[in-house]
């Protein structure tokens, strides 16, 4: 794990879970697998706190445990999973676009709580939705469960591994840590639950009055009704979301390069291969043109011949996203996922070079990319850029490690005057370099956001206090003039400052998500390439 990644993980853990969890988490990332006592000793925290921190981390799938020989349980941190926390807003937004508010809240609850049972999710989401609805209306449990079942069918949520029920003849002592297994076909199986009920609106008056008895009452109710699906926990399936993002990127690339209809055809093909193709395969399963024609969205009236023409055009395009793998069934077509990811990663690199160094540098970069290896003189000739400028640009890109040099000696003594020096671009190493830069950039943005918030802490506290006062006064029925008096306690320039602060924090947040998009493309490309090596 690079320093930049560790820094980013530490910032994320601190923001989401607090100091203690951050300390334990970062320690585990730095040192690898460690047993419980060693963690407690090295981080100088009490055993109790370490246990609680590990509980939190395991609940959120950020730490896994293994039983080693001699019965020692070791804990290992999953750094890549921690970095996914950046992408939570994107996952929630995707669920919203696909399954409306219900889906959005289900995924949000699952992400915030790590693992939950279905009944708990349904109840909580129904309550939340009821809050936002108009007075008198409530959200039915069945609607929420239906959405949950749809999410499970499309593999966006999956079951967590469970303790395997082994039948042993003699009662052996239980292992120090349970091993969790999950059957492939059970992963998306929704238990038959009859969840009947409606969401409850939380009345603010109930909260103030009789707080304690209510809590006792709540505990009573919970223990009386046994949860029907106890032990079956669900989590969000991040790989499926990643597959969806990848499909989105490919479809938008095709839409940019060709036209809307071609992108719709590619979207249909990807949708058909969602469940059948594993996410890391380089090609989708071959789809026949007849199948594609049948699966096109209903509103599209594209005749068969036109569809065939589009498919031929897609297969012949220099982008090479779609390939033809056979002629049966009207033509078998596959989507070349690896090539698509490589093109997207290369386009990202070119975009960065263009923005950082200028369009002439981008021209040289693309030239070396296409021709693979070029001498200095050839670069000047092909790119039609004066020799001095071309040299300057090449050296600048060389110093930033976008371009590398390959020496080919003519003589065994490698004399510089008798050696060919060829410029070349290795996309994989440039992608890794850029990825590292992205991690550091996000860490910088988070730090700046925390700094801005800290700077204006006093003002934020004041505004919060005043809001609380106003709310309580409104509840007890105060007059308009009194409310106005209190509101005026915040002066106009302070209000302005708060506005600016809110705008800045939003901007930094949005920027983090944008950089995360770049991270996603680069990481997918690197992963796809490493699988093929």
């Amino acid at each position: 794990m690079t320093q930049a990644e560790i820094k980013l993980c530490s910032l994320l853990l601190q923001e989401h879970f607090g100091e203690i969890v951050e300390k334990i988490g970062v320690h585990l990332i730095r040192t690898g697998c460690q047993p419980l006592r060693v963690i407690a000793h090295d981080t100088e925290t009490s055993l109790d706190q370490v246990k609680k921190a590990l509980c939190v981390l395991i609940q959120h799938n950020l730490v896994i445990y293994q039983v080693h020989k001699r019965g020692v349980v070791e804990y290992e941190a999953q750094c890549s999973r921690m970095l996914r926390m950046l992408r939570y807003p994107r996952y929630i937004y995707t669920a919203k676009t696909l399954y409306n508010d219900t889906g959005e809240l289900i995924v949000e609850e699952l992400l915030l709580n790590g693992k939950m049972t279905m009944s708990a999710v349904v109840k909580k989401v129904a309550d939340r939705l009821t809050e936002t609805m108009e007075d008198g209306k409530t959200m039915d449990y069945t609607e929420v469960s239906n959405t949950f079942v749809r999410l499970a069918d499309t593999h966006f949520v999956q079951r967590c591994p469970i303790v395997s029920a082994t039948e042993t003849a003699e009662p052996t002592p239980p292992p120090p840590a349970p091993t969790l297994v999950i059957n492939e076909k059970d992963m998306y199986l929704v238990p038959k639950l009859s969840l009947i009920g409606k969401g409850k609106r939380r009345r603010s008056s109930d909260e103030d009055a009789a707080g304690e008895p209510k809590a006792k009452r709540a505990k009573h109710i919970e223990s009386k009704e046994p949860i029907p699906d106890d032990g079956i926990y669900w989590q969000a399936n991040l790989d499926r979301f990643h597959q969806h993002f990848r499909d989105q990127a490919i479809v938008s690339a095709v839409a940019n390069r060709m036209d809307q209809t071609s992108s719709e055809i590619v979207r249909t093909m990807l949708r058909m291969s969602e469940i059948t193709t594993p996410s890391c395969a380089p090609f989708t399963h071959p789809l026949s043109s007849n199948e594609i024609f049948r699966s096109l969205p209903v509103g599209y009236n594209v005749s068969k011949q036109v569809l065939d023409q589009y498919l031929t055009l897609l297969a012949d395009d220099p982008l090479e996203f779609v390939g033809k793998s056979g002629d049966s069934g009207g033509g078998m077509y596959v989507i070349n996922l690896h090539k698509a990811l490589a093109s997207l990663a290369t386009a990202t690199l070119e975009s960065v070079v263009q923005e950082r160094f200028g369009s002439r540098c981008a021209r040289i970069f693309r030239l070396v990319l296409q021709k693979k290896h070029l001498e200095q003189k050839q670069v000047e000739d092909f790119a039609m850029i004066p020799a001095k400028e071309a040299k300057d640009m090449l050296y600048k890109m060389l110093s930033e490690n976008f371009i590398s040099l390959q020496e080919i000696p003519k003589t065994p003594d490698h004399a510089p005057s008798r050696t060919f020096y060829l410029y070349t671009v290795t996309v994989l190493s440039a992608a890794r370099m850029l990825l590292h830069r992205c991690y550091k950039s996000i860490a910088n943005l988070i730090e700046r956001r925390q700094f801005e918030t800290k700077e204006n802490k006093r003002l934020l506290d004041k505004s919060q206090r005043i809001e609380a006062i106003i709310a309580s006064m409104q509840a007890t029925g105060a007059e308009e003039t009194q409310l106005q008096e209190i509101e005026e306690m915040i002066t106009a320039p302070e209000r302005q400052q708060l506005e600016t602060l809110k705008r800045n924090v939003n901007k930094l947040d949005a920027s983090e998500i944008q950089v995360d998009e770049t991270i996603f493309l680069l990481e997918s490309y690197i992963e796809s390439t490493m699988k093929r090596l």
């Binding site: 690339a253 940019n256 589009y310 990202t348 960065v352 092909f382 020799a387 700094f451 950089v515 770049t518």
Partner: protein, 272 residues
Amino acid sequence: MKGSDNQEKLVYQIIEDAGNKGGDWRLKLWYLHIVTYALNQVCHHPTPRHTFFIGCFLCSRRIWSRDIRYKSNLPLTEINKILKNLESKKLIKAVKSVAASKKKVYMLYNLQPDRSVTGGAWYSDQDFESEFVEVLNQQCFKFLQTKADTARESKQNPMIQRNSSFASSHEVWKYICELGISKVELSMEDIETILNTLIYDGKVEMTIIAAKEGTVGSVDGHMKLYKAVNPIISPTGLVRAPCGLCPVFDDCHEGGEISPSNCVYMMEWLEF
């Protein structure tokens, strides 16, 4: 060959040359006349060396002074004297090479300098004409873009739409010639080099199709077609943050002179 006549030596050289490159003997004979005349003009007692020189010039289109020295084994001062003599008689001329501006290359007076020496259409007096190249670049791109736009708006079936959005290199060449922005006459290869730079800019893509020999613009049975394209992604997320373009990125860390908390670029970006 010692002791034979000057002219015989020359003829021998020319025939030797003709043997290598297979030139027309009548052309060579005509050269022989010129050379004899030249010899009589240069000096009244043409030495074998003079003839040797002129023979060298005829063998190669152009020749460097050092090569003359190697071939004739004459001392430097003598060569310079003879060269100056010949130059003043307007039989040979010196041309500066574009590749190495210090080299002086000599050739017969009535010959045109070769492309590789003067640099072709892109160089005027040894200067690379970047503005001219830029203008041509933009004009070609505009032509291809309008062609692609009209094809897209025609809303016909996709095959026809795609085929009509392509333009062959011959079409682009004709358009540029008619535009008349170039003082120098440009060949189709020149236009193709400009279109290649557009490909490296990521604005244009190229395909090669097989074409019948007779069709206009086909070279060796194939034709190059060009089409304007859009980039496949919009500028990536990293470059929208100030850190993506920061020149002092490597020096930045929390608590240092340059840190995210006091970053000037971030401050400007937030005020934007």
